[in-house]
Each structure stands twice: as C-alpha cells, then as structure tokens.
C-alpha cells in the first residue's frame, strides 16, 4: 500500500487559539520500506499517525490529502473509514499497557478484530494465541489481564494485536520506548520482517539508533514541519540540517562518545490565534511560543524558519523569508543556508617557521555549531593550525574562508569586523594574562582593543555577564583582584570569560584544561560545553588527550607532524579508527602498551 500525504495541515482548536500541530506536510510511504519519523515530543508525530487512521479528536481540524492507495482519508465517511481500520492500516500506539482495556484478557483483545470480521470465535482465539506465541508470549500469558503484563510483554501483545489482520500499512508509535534491550532487539526484528513481507511501515520513534538501524528513509519533524528528509544511514553521522545535528547530539546513542549535549533553547509550540493588534482590530496570526510563556518575549514573526530561535547558524534572513524544503544531495533540507553551513574552510593552508614545516598543506572544514577536536602530540602543529584559524598567524600559502568570505582579505581590510567573531583561549592560562591587569581589565580587554564597545557602562555590563556565564563572582572586590591572587581554575575561567565577552561565533580553545587538576578540569569542561550549546558556538578544541577529545567532540581530527591524517565523526574515530597512529593513541589512552611518544617518526 502506498500512502501519499499531501499538503497536510492539522490544527487543534483550543479555547481562544488553535495549535498548529502539522503544517503543509508532504510525505510518501512506500511498500517494503520503513520510514522513520523523529523529533522532540510535541512536534506532531502521534498526530500524523492518528490522522492517517482517521482518529483525530473532535477539536482537530484537518486540511490536505492522505491517500491510502486511492482512498482519501479526509473524504471518507466514518463507516467506510471503519472498514479500512485495522484491516488496511493498523497502529501500535505509544505507552504500551495503557493501550489495552484493563478489564479484558489479552487474547480476547487480540482476537476481537478477527471475530468482528466474521471468523468463528474458536478459530479466532486459536489464531490470536498463535500470533501471541509468534511474538514470544506463551499461551498462559495470553490469558492474562493487561495489568499482569510487564511493559515488554504488553508491547509484544500490542504488536500481535496490530498484525492480527495482516494489514498492509503498519504505524508504530514509539514501539521501543522504555523497553529492555532484549525486547527492543526482538521488536526490531519483527519490524524488519514486516519490511521483507512488503508492508508499508511508518516508525515513529525517539530512538535514533533504532531509526538509523531500521529505516530506509528518515523524516525529521520540528514543530509540525519537516526539516529534513534523509536516508536512514545518515542520521547520526551525516545530518544536513542544524536541527538534525542537534537531535543526534542530544541522543544517547549506543556508540556516541561525546557527553550528552542538549539542544539549546526551549521546546516551543505553534499557536494560531487572533487578538487586538496596535490598530485595535483583531488579526489572526501564527506564532511560536514556549509552552508556558504565553506571550512573553513578544511575537515571533509568522514567517521565516521555525528553528531560528534555537539555530546556531541563523542569519538575518532566517526570520524573514519563507523557507521551502529543497534537495541537497540525497537529502531534502528546509534551510535557507542549504543545511549546516561551513563556518571555516581551509584549502591547502600551510606554514613554516624557517626550515621547520609546522603545518603541511592542509584542508579542513568546520561546520557551524559543531565541536571539532584537534588531537595530536605536542609539537604536531595543533597550535599553529589553531592560531591560523584564529587569524592570529598568517599562513604562507592556501586559502581561508570564514563565513563565506576570504579571511586574508578580511583581515587586511576590515579586521575590526572580523575580530569580534572569534574568541580564543590560549594554551597557558597563567601566562596569557597580564599580571598588571585586574580581573575586570582582563575580561574587558577584547572589547577595548577592537573598539567593540566604548561606553563604560556597556563594557561594565558585558564584563559582568561574561563573568556570570562562567560562574565567577561579579562582586566589585573580585573585579579588582589580580591574577596572582587567583587559583588556576579561576584564572582559566577568567580567560574563558575574556574569550566570550564579545559573543564570538567561533571559539578556539587551545589545551584549555591541561593545566588544571582532574576535578577542576571536569568542572570547567562541563561549563564550556554548556556554554557552547547555549550560545550555539562553533568550537575548535585542541588537545593532546584523545580521552578528553572523546568527551567533547562531535568530530575529531588527528594530527601528526603538521598533517591531519584522519578526520571523522567522534564515534567512528574512537570505535573504528582508520589509521594505525590513531589506534595507538586510543590504546595508550586506555592504558595499554605502545605509548605514542616518539612513534610519530614511524609515520613520517
């Protein structure tokens, strides 16, 4: 069965506004293919499932088409729709046990549709018992009442119930939520088996691992709009939309290595309502609001990108233009910038200090919003590369593109507009601050040097904000302290505040925590990652410690002797390193033999 959804729009009427749950959704589900739908809760996934089943509640309003082969669901009368339900389209609803009627036995509920379609009762019961057995539930289990089943057993029962009429379309809503690994694996096998048998499958899930493992196509939904449509294999490793990246990063994948990041900002929802505008007349409009801030923060514009308030790479046009979904390779992306943007791009960039080749000609790309970790031994050229990225060193050759502009020209012609976009934390905190400066002066330095701010009170407020961002005191006494009065952790935080005081887009952190003891290091790192997500920073993180890189990176690049020998998603580099040297780094970090000291000679 082919399901063809066109221009589907569902809203829920509330007392004085309505809630736009799905907006102009286009989607085709094919027989023998698994389409997974992912997105935060409240983005409209279940609404779509119910819409296909013709089961939206009374307060829902639907526009558009849902074609089940030739039947258009919104046009069908209730009687006709009822004949399609379960025999043509069945749905496994979310939250297992609550889906069953508590007063009827499991087997009765599974057999019920058969009986009503005319199968003799005895035969229907036998078939139901068989189906339950097929799902791994013994006959004595079949006689139980729903409250006597565990979550996993209930889920198996739900699958049996959904498949009892052998429907060509199966919708699964969070089928593995809160289940143990064994049951999860079993259910994954059942779903795969359904695909082999040519069923059309819509898999709604939070579990990105499952989606990636099972799905042929993945649809990423945000506030009722499809943000990206991508092949299943690309979900975790090669997303195109900033939201997909954020989702993937927030998800505790089995082989994810980076400590859990979040998605910055709040979850929002969309409402459509009318109230008096400035002219005094009511006007109907859509806007995006956080769940419990009714009109706070004013009205977001009805046009533009829905993800804009949380996006790490938003530009001014994002709040203005209507954004259509567009192809990008074999993905389809709804983004003005064509998906995750490149923030910085090196083409054959090289640098020598006299006879020493600090950096061989190198290509490197930093994507907006990601944390890229550069790993390598001391002397491998990491700092050189980082400082070239920071526009602090001029390379001998090659091209640097920053936010789409040639960096060399930008540096020469307009450094004052480039400088505020980059923040740097230098390798040695104690040495990177002047000992004659107070805390206040240290943090205020970038603002003053680049003349980004001249009004004293503005400087003051920005310094205070930066200090409180890094959880330092903002008391006047503290502002007048000198670096030698502070401990190492505090100095490092002061440096971080200095790097962030001018709200940069790119943060370059060169061994920011190597001078700290482990407990302080953990704290500072956690704070740094928190800030990265909250402010949507792109980060180039330099470290000699691959164990540390594993905890912070989205992508890792490994450097040896002025060359990047390997780059890739952190999970892949750590779990399946491609290069001999990387393997050795990892092993030594795990405390195995083969220390990498001096081994770089071998790979020259």
């Amino acid at each position: 069965m082919q399901v063809h959804i066109q221009n589907l729009r569902v809203s829920y009427l509330e007392e004085n506004h309505s809630l736009l749950a799905l907006d102009r959704l286009d989607l085709t589900l094919h027989p023998g293919r698994i389409t997974a739908m992912v997105g935060e809760s409240g983005c409209g996934k279940t609404t779509l499932g119910k819409a296909i089943m013709g089961l939206l509640p009374d307060n829902a309003r639907l526009r558009g088409q849902i074609l089940l082969d030739r039947d258009n669901v919104p046009d069908l009368d209730e009687a006709r729709m009822n004949t399609l339900r379960w025999s043509t389209a069945a749905m496994v609803f979310q939250n297992g046990t609550a889906t069953f009627n508590p007063v009827h036995r499991l087997v009765d509920q599974v057999a019920e549709p058969l009986v009503l379609k005319g199968t003799p009762r005895k035969k229907a019961m036998a078939k139901a018992v068989d189906m339950l057995a097929h799902m791994g539930l013994a006959p004595e289990m079949a006689r139980r009442y729903p409250h006597e089943l565990s979550g996993g057993q209930a889920q198996r029962g739900l699958l049996a119930m959904a498949l009892i009429l052998d429907p060509p379309l199966v919708i699964l809503d969070e089928p593995t939520a809160a289940l143990d690994a064994m049951t999860k694996a079993f259910i994954a096998r059942v779903i795969q088996d359904l695909r082999v048998r040519g069923k059309t499958i819509l898999l709604i899930t939070h579990d990105l691992d499952l989606a990636q493992a099972l799905a042929d196509d993945i649809v990423v939904l945000y506030l009722g709009q499809i943000m990206e449509h991508l092949p299943g294999r690309d979900l975790l490793e090669n997303p195109s939309h900033p939201y997909t990246l954020a989702l993937a990063r927030a998800f505790p994948a089995m082989d994810a290595v980076r400590d859990l990041g979040g998605i910055r900002g709040d979850a929002f929802y969309r409402m459509v309502h009318a109230h008096a505008g400035e002219s005094g007349t009511d006007h109907v409009h859509t806007h995006v609001a956080a769940p419990d801030s009714f009109h706070q923060g004013g009205h977001a514009p009805p046009r533009g990108c829905l993800f804009q308030p949380r996006c790490t790479q938003a530009v001014e046009a994002c709040t203005r233009d209507e954004i259509a979904i567009m192809p990008s390779g074999d993905h389809q992306v709804r983004c003005l910038r064509g998906g995750i943007a490149q923030l910085l791009c090196f083409e054959q960039v090289a640098k020598s200090y006299g006879p020493i080749k600090a950096l061989a000609p190198t290509d490197l790309t930093l994507m907006a919003g990601e944390v890229f970790c550069l790993v390598g031994e001391t002397g491998s050229g990491k700092t050189t590369l980082a400082m070239i990225a920071a526009a602090a060193i001029i390379p001998d050759q090659g091209k640097r593109i920053f936010q789409g502009r040639d960096m060399d020209i930008w540096v020469k012609k307009e450094f004052t507009s480039l400088a505020p976009k980059i923040g740097v934390i230098y390798q040695n905190p104690a040495e990177s601050v002047s000992h004659r400066f107070t805390v206040f002066d240290i943090v205020a330095e970038p603002l003053r040097i680049h003349k980004m701010e001249t009004r004293t009170e503005k400087i003051h407020s920005r310094v205070l904000r930066a200090l409180s961002d890094v959880r330092l005191s903002t008391a006047p006494e503290f502002l007048q302290r000198y670096p030698h009065e502070l401990n190492m952790g505090a100095i490092q935080r002061v440096c971080l505040a200095r790097a962030l005081v001018h709200d940069p887009d790119l943060l370059i952190a060169d061994e920011p925590t190597s001078a700290l003891d482990p407990s302080v290091q953990a704290k500072v790192l956690k704070m740094l990652l928190g800030l990265q997500i909250e402010k949507g920073l792109t980060m180039l993180f330099v470290t000699h410690n691959i164990g540390l890189a594993r905890k912070v990176a989205d992508r890792i690049g490994v450097m040896v002797d002025g060359r990047i020998i390997e780059t890739g998603p952190a999970a892949r580099i750590i779990n399946h390193p491609g290069h001999q040297y990387t393997k050795m780094l990892i092993n030594s970090a795990r405390g195995l033999s083969d220390t990498p000291q001096g081994m770089s000679q071998v790979y020259r």
Binding site: L55, N82, R85, F93, N101, P102, V103, P113, L116, H147
Partner: protein
C-alpha cells in the same frame, strides 16, 4: 484451588465476626439503657398496656437470657412480641419485607439501568444540545428531595385527580384473579416508584456520565476505535464496561440502606413496607419491633458489602481478592 479458598475464607470470616458483634450489641441494648426500661418506653406512647402485657414485656427484657439463648431465639425467628401491634415481631417483619423489596428493588434497578444507559449515551454525545440540556435538568432534579416529589405526586395524581390510590400496596379484601392482583399491585406501586426513581435516577445518570467521560479520554478507547470495531461495541464493551464500577458501588450502598431509604416514601404513601413499620414502631416506641428491624438493617449492610467485594472482582480484574 487451595489458594482460592484461602482468599475467600478471609473476608467471609471477617464478616461473620462483624455480624456476631452486631447481634451482641443488639442483645446488650436493653440492658444498657438505664432504669425501668419498659415503663420508660411506653410511658409517653399511645399504647396502653394491661398489667399482664407489662409483666410479659418486663419478663422478656429482664429475664436475663444468655447471649446463646438470644442467638437461638433469633435463629428460630422468635424475635419477641410487639405490644403495639399485638403480633409477634417476626410476623410483622415478614409481612412488610416483600413490599419493601418490591418497591426498593424495582426503583433501584430501574434508576440504575436508566441512569447507566442514558449516562453512557450522553457522554458519547458530549457537547451536543441534548447532552447539555440533559445534564442541566438532571442537576436540578437531583436537588429536589423525594419528600417534595412524593408529596406533590400524592397531591396531584392521587388526592386531586384520583388516578392512583393514596395508600396501601393492594386493595384489601378484593376478589381478584392473579392477573388483576398484579395490576392492582402495580397500580399501588406507581406513585411511590416514580418518586424513588425521580430521586435516584438523576444521581445515577450524572455519575455514569461523569465516569464515562473520564473513560472516553483513555488511550484504550482510541485503540478500540482504531481496531475498526462498531461504535456500539466501542461504547459498551470497551468504554462503559470501565465506567461501571462507581455505579455498582452506589447501587450496593443504596441497597444496603434499603430500610432507611424506604422510610420517607413508604410513610408518605402509607406503603406497608419495612419503612412504614419502622416509622410506626418508633412513633409508638415499640422496642422489640425497633430492635428487630434495626438489627436486620445493619446485617443487611454487611451482607451487601460482602456481595459487593465479590462483584468488584468480577467487574475489574485489577481488584485483588485479598483486599
């Protein structure tokens, strides 16, 4: 099987013990009252006792029968003698009991079934004009006490229009075929029955509707719809079945307090049931009769409670036997 017995025996024993305690209290009652109880009882009443009756009564209450003897007498239906009615208490009791059962039983069953079905259908049509006006009407009706409805019906249909008899449960001393007798009984039953149904139905309706509205929001109702079941089956086999419990509880409670529940209506219509009997016994301060009826009424509460526990386990598998 053994575990099942074990599960069952516990509540039954508990109820037996409670029943014994009740009987014992009723046995102690006359002795607990101070002074010469027979004189005190009948002093202000309309009953004039001759010397012999007084002596008999005093003997009955003061002859210090043991609890065992009292219990034996209870079982032998020897519940004493009503001086007010000049008849044994048990005779009076069993003459009144059937009428109360007919009246109250019919009223409860009618009001519960009607309330359930209409409540379920109303909830299903939630938000419609019919439902809204139904709920409004029932809320108003629920506030009207049965004494008002009863008095009004009596006044209009019996005393003024003369369509229905004003007293009794059947026409006395009439030569009737069985069929005529049944019609006669129904004729007498009509007004008190309508009064009671009018009193009980609105509450049942509102309760059933509220329960059903809650159940209709449950996930499993959506599942039932998704399964393509006919609407009637979704409504009754899946939804209403889960809204039944509070209604059954209410039915049980009402049934348990049948005698006191009958008091007002039976008195208004002079219906010869236990309610009227109790009313008369109290107004004449006829202690043996009061004692008998009150003991019956309290035992009734126990029996109905025991039955309810059993019915709950039938209705909802989540109610465990042990609790």
């Amino acid at each position: 099987m053994r575990t099942r017995q074990h599960k069952w025996s516990r509540p039954v024993f508990a109820y037996l013990a409670a029943a014994l305690i009740l009987v014992y209290l009723s046995y102690l009652l006359p002795q607990l009252l101070p002074g010469d109880f027979v004189t005190a009882m009948y002093a202000g009443a309309d009953v004039s006792l001759n010397a012999l009756q007084e002596a008999e009564l005093k003997a009955y209450f003061l002859d210090n029968q043991t609890f065992g003897e009292y219990l034996g007498n209870l079982v032998r239906l020897d519940w004493g003698y009503s001086a007010a009615f000049f008849a044994p208490v048990s005779t009076l009791f069993f003459a009144a009991l059937p009428w109360t059962i007919v009246l109250m039983g019919t009223a409860h069953i009618l009001s519960s079934f009607l309330g359930f079905f209409l409540g379920v259908e109303a909830a299903w049509r939630r938000g419609s004009l019919v439902e809204k006006s139904g709920v409004g009407t029932m809320t108003v009706l629920e506030g009207i006490p049965e004494i008002c409805t009863g008095a009004l019906l009596l006044l209009v249909f019996s005393l003024h229009l003369g369509w229905f008899p004003a007293a009794g449960a059947q026409t006395a001393y009439a030569e009737q075929t069985t069929f005529q007798w049944v019609l006669d009984v129904l004729h007498h039953l009509t007004l008190p029955l309508i009064t009671l149904v009018a009193a009980y139905f609105p509450g049942n309706f509102l309760l059933a509707r509220a329960g059903m509205v809650m159940v209709l929001k449950k996930q499993f109702v959506l599942t039932a719809k998704a399964k393509g079941l006919p609407p009637g089956r979704v409504r009754y086999a899946h939804a209403a079945r889960n809204a039944l419990l509070p209604l059954v509880t209410r039915f049980g409670l009402r049934f348990a307090f049948m005698v006191t529940g009958a008091l007002v209506v039976e008195t208004i219509f002079s219906y010869p049931g236990l309610g009227t009997l109790l009313f008369n016994a109290i107004s004449m301060r006829d202690l043996p009769l009061i004692q008998g009826i009150v003991l019956f009424a309290s035992l009734m509460v126990l029996v109905v409670n025991l039955c309810m526990e059993w019915v709950y386990t039938l209705l909802d598998p989540r109610v465990s036997h042990a609790s």
